[in-house]
């Protein structure tokens, strides 16, 4: 469709968005091919105490940590961990949040209020606080951290979907569709959802980055996945005691988090520029007017 091609062209033109797209793409590739890309894939588990805390050299490009493990390899594998956590968590949020938002926004009955109030409860404290409480209550494991993140993040999605659905519902063409006799569920899926899609996409992209950050924070605190998971947050926490001499242990995992999250944010920002003005203002002023 010409419209899709125009969208793609615009994405490429927007250098920041395209850079974000590339970064995310690279992250995914690195995650998938981690065992082949990491110079010492075994270091996810293996310990080589004789080589502990070595500075970055040709042999270990990013140095080694306190157990002698190659940091580059662990960072590469960390990509898998973080991305998996974020993907599943955001996915769960979508599965829970989008239908709730659609229902609440469309029907606006007492049940909707209940859903939205429940969401408000979760939103009444900064996400990290709740996630922290959940994660520590549940215990240290990957599934638990994903659960904690999903349970505390879904209200953001349902909130956005709710607001957008309400807006779309008020538009005349929905009234017309319903007046013509289309059933509610059909209307929701075929007409409301496509129009609500772009904020969802943007939020999901940004949400991936945000989840990775939160997961790292939880790992840093010590309630995340258990060692020896090569999670970036844990790596930074472990590295703290060897600072400032062994600076490489903490610097590189943090850098990895930063770059990855930045990639998602750049992509999300570009998507926002792309998708929003198109829908809101019909394209006439669409040449890079920003938000």
């Amino acid at each position: 469709m010409k419209k899709d091609r125009v969208l793609w062209q615009k994405l490429v033109q927007d250098r920041v968005a395209f850079a974000g797209f590339l970064i995310v793409f690279i992250v995914i590739i690195v995650g998938i091919f981690a065992p082949y890309l990491a110079p010492y894939p075994g270091d996810v588990r293996n310990i080589h105490l004789s080589e502990r805390l070595q500075r970055p050299t040709l042999k270990h490009l990013l140095g080694t940590d306190e157990f002698g493990r190659d940091i580059l390899s662990r960072v590469i594998f960390g990509t898998r961990v973080s991305f998996t956590i974020a993907l599943i968590a955001v996915g769960a949020c979508l599965i829970i949040g989008v239908p709730i938002g659609l229902y609440a926004g469309f029907y606006e009955n007492w049940l909707s209020s209940v859903f939205m109030r429940i969401g408000d409860i979760f939103l009444s404290v900064p996400q990290i606080v709740l996630a922290l409480a959940f994660a520590s209550a549940l215990g240290r494991s990957m599934p638990n951290i994903i659960l904690a993140l999903s349970v505390t993040y879904w209200p953001w999605f349902s909130g956005i979907v709710f607001a957008e659905t309400r807006k779309v519902k008020k538009s005349v063409f929905i009234e017309a569709t319903l007046a013509l006799g289309a059933s509610s569920s059909r209307t929701i899926f075929r007409h409301v959802l496509p129009n609500v899609l772009s904020p969802i996409i943007i939020r999901s992209t940004v949400g991936m980055g945000y989840t990775i950050l939160t997961a790292a924070a939880l790992g840093f605190i010590g309630v995340g996945a258990p060692p020896p998971t090569p999670e970036w947050g844990i790596a930074i926490a472990d590295a703290r005691q060897y600072l400032p001499e062994a600076w490489w242990c903490a610097t590189f995992p943090g850098l990895a988090i930063f770059l990855t999250v930045m990639g998602f944010n750049m992509l999300g920002d570009g998507l926002r520029d792309l998708l929003d003005p198109r829908l809101r203002r019909g394209g006439r002023e669409a040449t890079k007017e920003g938000e």
Binding site: V16, R117, I118, D120, I121, F122, S124, V125, P126, I128, V129, L130, L132, A133, F134, S136, A137, L138, G139, A163, G209, L213, A216, A217, F220, I221, G222, V223, I236, R240, L243, P244, W247, A250, T251, P253, G254, I257, F258, V261, M262, F264, N265, M266, D269, K288, E289, G290, E291
Partner: protein
Amino acid sequence: MRVLSFILGRLAVTPIIILGLITLVFFIVRVIPSDPIAFIAGERATKEQIVELKQKWGLDQPLYTQYFIYLRQLAKGDFGTSFYTHQPVVEDLMRRLPATLELTIVAVILSVALGVPIGIISALGRNSWFDHLLRVVTIGGLSIVGFWLGIMLQMVIGYQLNLLPLTGRIDLHAPQDITGFLILDSILTWNGKALLSSLKHLILPATAIAFASFAVIARFTRAGVLNVLRSDYVLYEQAMGLPYALIIVKYVLRNSITSTVTQIGLVFASLLGGAAVIEMVFEWPGLGNFLVQSILLADYKVILGVTVWIGLVYIVMNLIIDIAQTIVDPRRIEQ
């Protein structure tokens, strides 16, 4: 009238949400996990000792009884007692609150001082190279890992360059404790050394926090200003030849302020709990740090107390902001 009914509506819902929050946290902290007694008693506690401790702390009662007892106490303003400090939670809370507040306020001031001008300049120079540069910078700010930045700052500025202290709020020159706000107390007691010391200790953690929030404020300011720039009245003012500087400084800024102020309020509220990890990194004796430690120790009265308290502040803050917005712009009620 509509404004009033809106406000009343929100006020009515608020207690329900607070109750919901309490229930939720109670559920998380008591129903799911670990037994604080195991921590307190230690590994070699005998069965009798455990039973005794349980009775002492009221943990032998069925869960819903504990819930209602807690609610009743809460209504009287009693947040319970911490397992570890053996102090009333309220006292522990109040003792640590000024530290977090001071840090948060300074961080917000920094973010606003940096973020608002950047947002405005970005919007005015829309699509210039500067705007694009700032776009990348703000996205970077959003992506920054607060605690990692804190660690890096500690390392480079604190250690390598030895410019600023690494942890804590103040060193030996602590001033007399009047308000709990070190800056204020230093000024009130005319203690220059204390003032200097507390400021030095504040800079690094505040910067680590401010990096992320300045980006949010910059972006919202930019969006707000852009929105105003596109309005009909700005078009009219331009068409009628009013000086550009006048239009921007007098009219555009004034109209853009509301969204920025809202954002600042929200940022402030979310930092109260959100700065917890950075407080950890800098060993800042604040609320967030306290919360994290209590969570790790399963000190549930504290967890409940602090979380509920943060929640309360956040909810109230949001309520105030929403009410203020509807007064300023009644169209908001639709949204």
